[in-house]
């Protein structure tokens, strides 16, 4: 902590008044929105949020909420298959996970599992539509663009460390299928692009986004900026008096210049991580994202998301070979997620860092949608499984899934809610919906549940009409 504060102090000194003023640029740009929040600020239990996003629909029965194990054999009935892995104990008495998640199982004494999340019913499934809903709390389309939860947090809480953008989204590329839908919710919406995500699709090249352009030395970078200032000062427009647009440009340029030459940018350089630690995380891009998230969380990151990446029919989006692919996905996440929690715990940061692990919905071998609201099938699942390719959870299930949380005031070794042991494995106790999850995150950060802005004459809350209360049972 001490290092952080020293670094921050140095930085503030370096930035000088010009850039402190820049930090305030956000005020005029949003002034057309009249904030009406009046309730007292609640004491925060977290300063930083890390969202570990299991993109594509992670089956709860194959991961954190295992049901009866039915091993593969030729001709097994699909309807018998609830879990394709045996269950194994975790460090918490009576809590079992599906095989392949033992490292995460060993850190459950530091966190909570919610087993009763119910996704929205949006009809015929489109992953990105559910993801949009999860991240913004609003169902698309909307008549104004709702902000991502990270943007709300960036707006309400700002940067914790001025060098680190308050909203960082890692691991998702926007060149994949459904890219436009992905872009639509990776957005600050009506809050304005100031609060939008700082995108790092590939965490191992994160450094490129925070240093001078490739091939430009620091001295050249500095003299280039000097030249810009010199030319700008001779600009005849200046003679016409001050102008808010021109000033906002000058301030933003100054802030970006300071940020790109600050030594703190090295945080983004994963090659400076000790080799054994690097290898511990390195299960691929997701694992390295967890590593970068750790480094940022320890140095004043505000909201950081790390996605396993959504690409139609890949990742958790298992339309076939579900068993085999779930195994691979577990290999991808188990070690780095557990390591992230251990490292933050050891350094003392876990107390003020809320880590959430979630997915847009779950999967099932039989049911598409949810009981009573069956929607159009997208996968052909035979009654009898004659080929291992059909062994797994291939349909989209919206009636129950797991969300894991650690740190930031969350209870330790706690299980909230449950799902049925038999199909349909729906949430049957303490059902939780997205509004409550968002409100719980805001609660942990000390953001007023009534926070809203007036946009086009209409009050726009963090959750629709300000609905949903934080789940107080989750907090220790």
């Amino acid at each position: 902590m001490k290092e952080l504060f020293n670094a921050r102090r140095d930085f503030i000194k370096k930035m000088g008044t010009a850039s402190l003023a820049a930090a305030a640029t956000t005020i005029p740009s949003a002034s057309f929105l009249a904030s009406c929040s009046k309730a007292p600020v609640l004491p925060a239990t977290a300063d930083t949020v890390i969202l570990l996003w299991m993109a594509g629909g992670m089956a709860h029965t194959e991961t954190f909420d295992p049901k009866a194990y039915v091993p593969y054999e030729k001709g097994v009935e699909s309807k018998r298959v609830l879990s394709t892995f045996p269950k194994v104990p975790t460090i918490v008495d009576g809590l079992y996970f599906s095989e392949g998640l033992s490292a995460i199982g060993q850190v459950m004494d530091k966190g909570t599992i919610i087993r009763s999340y119910r996704s929205a019913d949006l009809g015929h499934i489109l992953h990105t539509r559910h993801q949009y809903h999860w991240h913004t709390c609003y169902e698309p389309p909307q008549s104004v663009q709702p902000p991502h939860i990270g943007a709300w947090i960036a707006k309400e809480k700002g940067s914790l460390n001025p060098v680190i953008p308050p909203f960082i989204a890692m691991g998702q590329r926007f060149t994949v299928g459904e890219a436009e839908e992905l872009k639509a919710f990776h957005s600050a919406g009506f809050l304005g692009s100031e609060y939008g995500p700082f995108l790092i699709p590939d965490p191992s090249s994160g450094l490129e986004s925070v240093q001078p352009p490739q091939g430009m030395s620091l001295s050249r970078f500095e003299s280039r900026y000097k030249l810009y200032r010199e030319l700008a000062e001779q600009n005849p427009m200046l003679k016409q008096g001050s102008d808010y647009q021109q000033e906002s440009l000058a301030r933003s340029m100054e802030r970006s210049y300071q940020l790109l030459r600050s030594p703190e940018a090295k945080l983004f350089d994963l090659s400076s991580e000790p080799m054994d630690s690097y290898e511990q995380y390195n299960t691929g891009r997701f694992g390295l994202g967890c590593l970068l998230a750790k480094r940022l969380a320890m140095n004043g990151g505000r909201f950081i998301s790390v996605s396993t990446e959504y690409e139609p029919f890949l990742g958790w989006d298992t339309h076939e070979n579900g068993h085999l692919r779930a195994k691979r996905m577990k290999d991808l996440i188990d070690r780095p997620v557990a390591q992230l929690i251990k490292d933050l715990d050891q350094s003392g940061h876990l107390d003020r860092t809320l880590i959430i692990m979630a997915s847009e919905f779950s999967r099932d071998a039989i049911m598409e949608g949810r009981p009573g609201l069956k929607v159009k099938d997208q996968v052909n699942q035979p009654d009898l499984i004659e080929d291992e390719k059909f062994y797994g959870m291939h349909r989209h299930f919206t009636d129950g899934s797991s969300i894991l949380m650690w740190g930031g005031g969350i209870k330790k070794g706690f299980v909230f809610g449950k799902t049925a042991e038999e199909r349909p494995c729906s949430s049957i106790e303490n059902t939780v919906v997205i509004d409550q999850i968002h409100q719980s995150v805001y609660h942990a950060l000390g953001i007023d549940p009534e926070t809203h802005y007036t946009i086009e004459g209409r009050p726009f809350y963090t959750t629709p009409d300000g609905q949903g209360a934080p789940i107080m049972e989750l907090f220790g």
């Binding site: 005029p28 590329r173 016409q240 940020l259 209409r458």
Partner: protein, 940 residues
């Protein structure tokens, strides 16, 4: 009796406030021994002030105790009031001691006076908060209060108070005023939308019926009416309405009392709570002003004289030509165009320039296309397309602008569309179930209201609006026009069991009822474009004015019920537009040729001043270049930012597929991994030798091309199409094209080959060879003879067509010489660079763009790889094309970028930066500094 004494408190408090504050001011005037004559008066004031402060405190105590005031606010006010009285007494005592000579200096007394006045201020503020509500000072900032005519209702009360008996007309006015008070202060909780305490104040039935605790009015007796009791309680009372700390104004309470006492009459007329602009256009006469010929200037002249503003001089030629180019065609004028214009001695040269630019049809279209794309939510990519839930109107829009289609016809074709223009009312539909307020027909109603009518229907599509007079029924009535079956009203997504009757928002314009959608749309298209629908024409006029001068006559531009800063000017322009045959170019011309447009730009240090209803026009506002203007200007002066468009107004000559090695993961086609891939294709000329053969090739990211085993070309920039003439290298029979392609990067990412080879054979036949799925490829390093005809590629696989899934039209392949060296930004698919610069993702109608820079934008401009590459390219071009001495280079750069010659100082800066032998890096950095400087970034 105690109560009566207590109520004298509000009267008494004004004495200490007045006396002590004036005493303090006068005291300040005597500092330094000046104005000794004031001393006697000050002494009296302090004494009387102290005495009245004590009296006020005592009376206040009575009021607080016997009048049942409670709460922390009351307590603080009481504490501060007593403290103030005590310090006032102390102050008076000190003064007395000084007068007597007991104290030698005035300083203790003066300090005490200062403290007294400070405490007094606090106590008074708390007191005012009690009587007027805590947000008394700040509430004037809320827009709803802003537009409310308090004077009107106070006047009504005064008028009615003077009368002994009331006519029906009076009772009606009284009732409507009371309902307006309800609407502004009570509807938020007590309306159909939100029936708190089961009370609805929106209609007669609700008011007469009362809420869960019974009736709220007893007609004829305010004393027995719960409604009156609740609104007349003290601000701090727990039961006070509208809510604790916020009470109605005295005259509002009095009006409610009067209304109840007079029998609580309910008028049949519908309530118009919010001010509405008249539907029809006024036809203002032009003021007499002999010195000014232009109609806009005659009107502005009268506006100026009303506001005591003198006409400034219009801008010089250089500034004007830059503005006109950027505003009409979105491009910078070339140095030659600037020079010619400045040399031109003709008197009407500005008007001629405007005509000339408006007649540059394609460039005009390619500039204004962005404005219309924003407004009509049209884009080349975005949500919805993936599941067929969205459609472009680009081709229709492009040709409408190109032909300068009359605006009424454009609107008709938008609301009653052809296949080419139906994308606008079709909205965006995501797969699955959609909230009733976002159904396609509701989106149509919302978008037409916002874009074309400057009206917000979004609130009313869920419930009766809180910010306008629009009702849920109106919103559904409008949406029903677009629905193919009866549309049931939903409030906040809950069905009401009531069906909407199709009607346009202004039913007075005519009926839109018909048996089919087509029939209704046909009627709507006629009704909405009637000349009587002034609002339609006023809205577009205001938008164009804002686009050209930076601030609308009405702001916000989507709230056309707000008062314009000059109503006569707005209506004259809109009427003139109508009379011109709805000619958009005429509208632009009449604005740009006015002196008003040609005034120097006026900057604002505070954006709130610009947006405020008290804005006074003094000239145009400096405007930041839009993402598209900046991109095109960069293409003009540095290097092409984009090479290919997502939409091309001309037909493609032929079609090709974008191919690459098929890559599979888990039985699924996926994005290509980085690395080398090898491609082969064999074709046969069948003994008809080629007389001419042109080959076009673009590979993302890099390639080496072989023809019949020989290396022909290499490239590493897919945006630059390689063009080769290869007739003399072709065999008369079999030929093989082989390509070694490389996909760069660290993770899987798009890659592809686009190739076209046109061969004209000696018998006159034309053969076209293109990249298609008959090509073969491998990702394994092949033996050295892989690029020859002899090689057997049986174990290679067929390539995959990556089509347009990730690219649309990536580059333009054409055998004709390209006339345009770069792609206009308006035609390019949304791209992170332009997005950072503020081009909106057109998921919703976007009628204004953010005009302030953000950090993420500055980062993109400081270290963005894409921008950096363009500048690098630009630096190379400047150094290779311009064999100039540094000074000439500086001049050429300044002329191109800023339209002016550099000053001596600027030449020195440039020369120093470039050094004796300009390096690519120095040139690149200079270009960067120039395009980021405000002079480049702004239209001023």
């Amino acid at each position: 009796m105690e109560l009566f004494i207590g109520r004298l408190h509000p009267l008494m408090v004004h004495f200490p406030i007045g006396l002590l504050v004036v005493a303090f001011i006068l005291e300040l005037l005597t500092v330094g021994g000046k104005r000794a004559g004031l001393r006697q008066g000050i002494n009296w004031m302090v004494m009387l002030g102290a005495a009245s402060a004590v009296a006020s405190a005592i009376l206040g105590w009575f009021l607080g105790t016997y009048n049942d005031y409670q709460g922390t606010l009351v307590q603080s006010h009481q504490n501060w009031g007593i403290t103030t009285a005590a310090t006032a007494v102390a102050c008076a005592v000190l003064l007395r001691f000084t007068e007597k000579g007991t104290l030698s200096s005035l300083i203790p007394y003066r300090m005490a006076l200062f403290i007294t006045v400070s405490f007094l201020t606090i106590a008074s503020h708390l007191g005012a908060s009690l009587t007027h509500g805590e947000d008394f000072l700040t509430e004037v900032f809320y827009q709803q209060e802003d537009s409310y005519d308090h004077q009107g209702s106070a006047d009504l009360l005064a008028e009615l108070n003077q009368m002994d008996s009331y006519s029906e007309m009076h009772l009606e006015r009284l009732n409507l005023e009371v309902r307006a008070i309800f609407a502004r202060n009570c509807y938020q909780c007590h309306s159909e939308n939100k029936q708190k305490g089961e009370l609805i104040l929106e209609h007669k039935r609700g008011v007469y019926q009362g809420g869960e605790s019974g009736e709220i009015i007893v007609a004829g007796s305010s004393a027995n009416s719960e409604l009156y009791r609740r609104v007349s309680l003290p601000a701090d009372h727990d039961e006070v309405m509208p809510k604790k700390g916020k009470v109605l104004k005295d005259h509002q309470i009095a009006l409610i009392k009067l209304w109840i006492d007079q029998g609580a009459y309910w008028a049949d007329r519908a309530l118009q709570v919010f001010p509405e602009a008249p539907l029809a256009l006024a036809k203002p006469a032009l003021p007499e002003s002999p010195s000014l010929g232009h109609p806009v200037d005659k009107l502005v002249d009268s506006y100026f004289s009303n506001n005591r503003i003198n006409w400034p001089h219009v801008v010089d030629d250089q500034t004007f030509i830059r503005r006109a180019y950027l505003d009409i065609i979105g491009l910078l004028p070339t140095p030659e165009q600037v020079a010619d214009f400045r040399m031109d001695q003709e008197k009407d040269k500005r008007e001629k320039l405007v005509d000339q630019l408006l007649n540059d049809h394609h460039n005009y279209t390619q500039h204004w296309l962005s404005f219309w794309n924003d407004l009509l939510r049209n884009d080349y990519s975005g949500t919805g397309f993936i599941t067929g839930g969205r459609k472009q109107i680009t081709d229709w829009l492009y040709h409408s602008l190109l032909d300068n289609k009359p605006y009424d016809l454009m609107v008709q074709e938008l609301v009653n569309p052809t296949a080419d223009s139906e994308g606008f009312i079709k909205g965006i539909k995501w797969r699955g179930v959609v909230n009733s307020s976002q159904s396609p027909e509701m989106q149509a109603a919302q978008n037409i209201s916002q874009s074309l009518m400057g009206m917000n229907l979004k609130c009313a599509s869920c419930h009766n609006s809180f910010v306008s007079n629009l009702t849920l029924e109106q919103a559904y009535g409008f949406a029903a026009i677009f629905a193919d079956s009866a549309l049931e009203l939903n409030r906040c997504d809950q069905p009401l069991g009531k069906f909407a009757k199709p009607a346009f928002l202004y039913s007075e314009l005519g009926s839109v009822e018909a048996d089919s959608i087509r029939g209704r749309l046909e009627k709507l298209s006629q009704v909405i474009t009637k000349p009587e629908n002034g609002r339609l024409y006023r809205t577009v006029t205001n938008r164009v004015w804002k686009k050209l001068l930076g601030r609308g006559l009405v702001e916000p531009v989507d709230e056309m019920d707000q008062p314009p800063w000059d109503a006569a000017l707005l209506d004259w322009l809109a009427a003139d537009f109508r009379e011109s045959g709805y000619d958009l170019k005429h509208l632009i011309k009449i604005i740009i040729t006015s002196r008003a447009y040609q005034l120097p730009a006026v900057g604002y240090d505070d954006v709130a001043k610009l947006a405020s209803g008290k804005y006074v026009f003094e000239g145009p506002v400096p405007r930041r270049l839009t993402a598209e203007q900046f991109t095109d200007a960069l293409s003009q002066i540095a290097a092409p930012v984009y090479y290919a468009t997502a939409y091309s107004p001309v037909q493609e000559e032929f079609s090709t597929s974008r191919i690459w090695h098929r890559e599979i993961k888990f039985d699924r086609d996926v994005l290509p991994e980085p690395g080398e891939r090898y491609f082969r294709y064999v074709f046969d000329l069948k003994n008809q030798p080629a007389s001419q053969a042109s080959l076009l090739l673009s590979v993302d990211h890099s390639f080496e091309l072989f023809l019949n085993g020989e290396s022909l070309a290499q490239g590493n920039d897919w945006r630059k199409v390689s063009k080769l003439e290869i007739a003399d290298r072709l065999n008369p029979e079999k030929n093989i094209i082989a390509i070694k392609g490389v996909n760069e990067g660290s993770i899987a990412n798009p890659a592809g080959i686009l190739l076209a080879l046109r061969i004209i054979q000696q018998n006159g036949d034309t053969l076209l060879v293109t990249s298609n799925t008959d090509w073969k490829s491998t990702d394994k390093s092949p033996p050295p003879e892989w690029m020859t005809l002899n090689f057997e590629d049986d174990n290679w696989s067929k390539v995959r067509n990556y089509g347009s899934k990730h690219w649309d039209r990536l580059v333009t392949l054409s055998f004709q010489e390209s006339e345009r060296p770069f792609a206009r930004a308006s035609l390019v698919r949304q791209h992170p660079f332009m997005k950072a610069l503020g081009r909106p993702s057109r998921e919703n109608v976007a009628t204004t763009r953010a005009d302030q820079a953000t950090l993420l934008q500055a980062l993109e401009l400081t270290n963005g790889a894409y921008f950096n590459e363009v500048l690098k390219d630009g630096a190379e071009r400047w150094l290779s094309q311009n064999n100039l001495e540094n000074e000439e280079l500086a001049e050429s750069l300044y002329l191109k970028a800023f339209g002016r010659v550099p000053s001596k100082k600027e030449i020195k800066t440039v020369t120093q930066t470039l050094g004796e032998q300009p390096s690519k890096e120095a040139m690149q950095d200079l270009l960067w500094a120039m395009v980021l400087s405000p002079e480049f970034q702004f239209i001023y």
